[in-house]
Amino acid sequence: MNSAKAKNLLREMGPLIGLIALFAVIALLNDRFISPSNLSNLLRQVSINALISFGMTFVILTGGIDLSVGSILALSSALLASMMTSGMNPELAVIVAAFIGLCLGAVNGIIVAYGKVAPFIATLATMTIYRGATLVYTNGNPISGLTEDPIFHALGQGDIAGIPVPAILMFIAFFILLFILNKTPLGRQTYAVGGNEKVSYIAGIKIDRVKIVAYAITGLLCALAGAVLTARLNSAQPTAGTGYELDAIAAVVLGGTSLAGGKGRISGTLIGALIIGTLNNGLNILNVSSFYQQVVKGIVILLAVLMDRKKS
């Protein structure tokens, strides 16, 4: 193996090595961290951020960014909750909510693609609009006491063979998206558009369509994450998802995806989300004061990005 290949491999493995190191340190400090029940707990907690981050990966790969993820989550969650309180079949409600998320995301994509608005600005605007719409719709109150339906509750709290249902959902989404990105023309085009929009356009790729699909996928995944969150709390919070865009961007960046677009892997994002989840969980387990927690999180993100810079 030549040195270039070794370097490449190191870069690919960097986030994973970081995650393992983090695991080892926390486990050394408190052995409850690696108890099976906490690991399953950890996966359950990671799944929401991971689902959103997967979508964010798509958008960032096209060279965009989506700040509205938290707001889409909140709005679709509120609509999901009210559909259920008005007596709709919970499973059907989840499907409808997912479709609503898809549409909200597609709106982002349409503004970016056809409106030629910078993604940061476009989604900053829709972030505010969707959040506002959520507050208008819920009147600022949580919607609770949704349903007794066991399948819906399992979406948040259930286990299958010891693995939390949200985590199973996360893995299913992961493999589907992994397949799309690596094996389909759509995935190839997603990378191409982010890699060089002009080249892609000249090569006959429908750039607008690729962008809209990326944002729509993100919207769909946000709505799914929203459904999991709703099921976990058996209620919809109007302020749910505030600040989630930052966690998602952090996960994507930690996973080695370039914010400039065109370069990155969804497997890296999964690891990035695991790193952030592990930090949150681990710092709680270690009973670290909340003042220090924020400092630690910031430092880890900075370290990861700096290391990535050095390697390249």
Partner: protein, 305 residues
């Protein structure tokens, strides 16, 4: 050019129509009940939280009952917006200002501005760091923290292992509720963990899950608000543990959870009562009566009946 003009017109029309919807019903009310005796301005921190929604509603109701005109402005949790809001209220020459500050430090200049305009100021729920405030109306948070700790002692006995979910780090409610809780708990209970969940239900759930993983023998959780308590209940449920969860505030969801037998108790604030007291006090001030420098609105321990 034409395009810009059209957009400007549309925006203008949208603004007019929105403001129109907002105020129409109040105008009708005013017409029905004749001349108003005085005007109160109420700057509320947010309408994003049921607690403040209830508070604002009670101010509105109490004012309507007393035939007082009330202008309510919502800062949407933005200190800068609140400063503008208060300036607007001062400009519209209200008789008394009731302020529910977003941030105790940031509101000070607005209070001073009101002082200069000779408009008496009442703060509610959160205080102002400087400026002349006639009176401050608040729940007694320290006392509430003590009540929660004593309730746990009463239910589980001394030295019971407990965990605490804190609010947003540094917020006054976090400080005061924690202070009161620890005043009692440090003597009579074993606090195994204390972690922040930012007054948020989702975070309350995950942080409580994590705490229960690290400390499986926790018997009670004190959450500094009901939202976090509701999250903690979810965590206790999924860990299949019987844990005494005590909340704070007494929100609608919190009270319902108590009726359902899930939350053990909450230290209920009474936002409706705070609103009423604020309007009453404002009337007194307008009439030139003397009022106390600080008015503590009672907290109420609510259990399942």
């Amino acid at each position: 050019m034409l395009k810009k003009l059209v957009i400007a017109c549309l925006l203008g029309a949208a603004l007019v129509s929105v403001s129109g919807c907002g105020s129409s019903d109040k105008k009708e009310e005013a017409a029905a009940s004749g001349e108003k005796t005085m005007t109160i301005g109420f700057a509320v921190s947010t309408q994003n939280n049921p607690f403040f929604v209830t508070m604002a509603k009670s101010v509105e109701d109490a004012a309507a009952k007393a035939n007082i005109d009330v202008k309510i402005v919502d800062a949407q949790n933005d200190p800068a917006k609140q400063s503008n809001d208060v300036t607007d209220l001062i400009e519209s020459k209200v008789d008394v200002l009731i302020i529910n500050p977003v941030d105790s430090a940031a509101i000070s200049n607005s209070v001073i501005a009101a002082n200069e305009a000779k408009i008496p100021v009442i703060t509610i729920d959160r205080s102002a760091d400087s400026g002349d405030v006639v009176t401050h109306i608040a729940s007694n948070n320290v006392k509430g923290g003590e009540m929660a700790a004593e309730y746990i002692v009463k239910k589980l006995g001394e030295q019971a292992p407990v965990a605490e979910l804190e609010g947003i780090p540094g917020a006054s409610a976090t400080r005061e509720r924690g202070e009161g809780f620890h005043k009692v708990a440090d003597q009579k209970l074993k606090v195994l963990a204390k972690q922040s969940a930012d007054f948020d239900r989702t975070k309350g759930l995950t942080v409580a899950e994590n705490i229960l993983q690290a400390n499986p023998d926790v018997k009670a959780i004190f959450a500094q608000n009901d939202e976090m308590a509701l999250g903690a209940i979810g965590a206790a449920k999924s860990a299949s543990k019987d844990i005494l969860v005590i909340g704070f505030d007494g929100t609608e969801d919190g009270l319902k959870s108590i009726q359902d037998g899930e939350m053990a108790a909450t230290i209920a604030q009474q936002p409706d009562k705070m609103g009423e007291v604020a309007v009453e006090t404002a009337q007194k001030i307008a009439k030139g009566e003397k009022v106390e420098k600080s008015i503590a609105v009672d907290l109420k321990l609510v259990e399942k009946q």
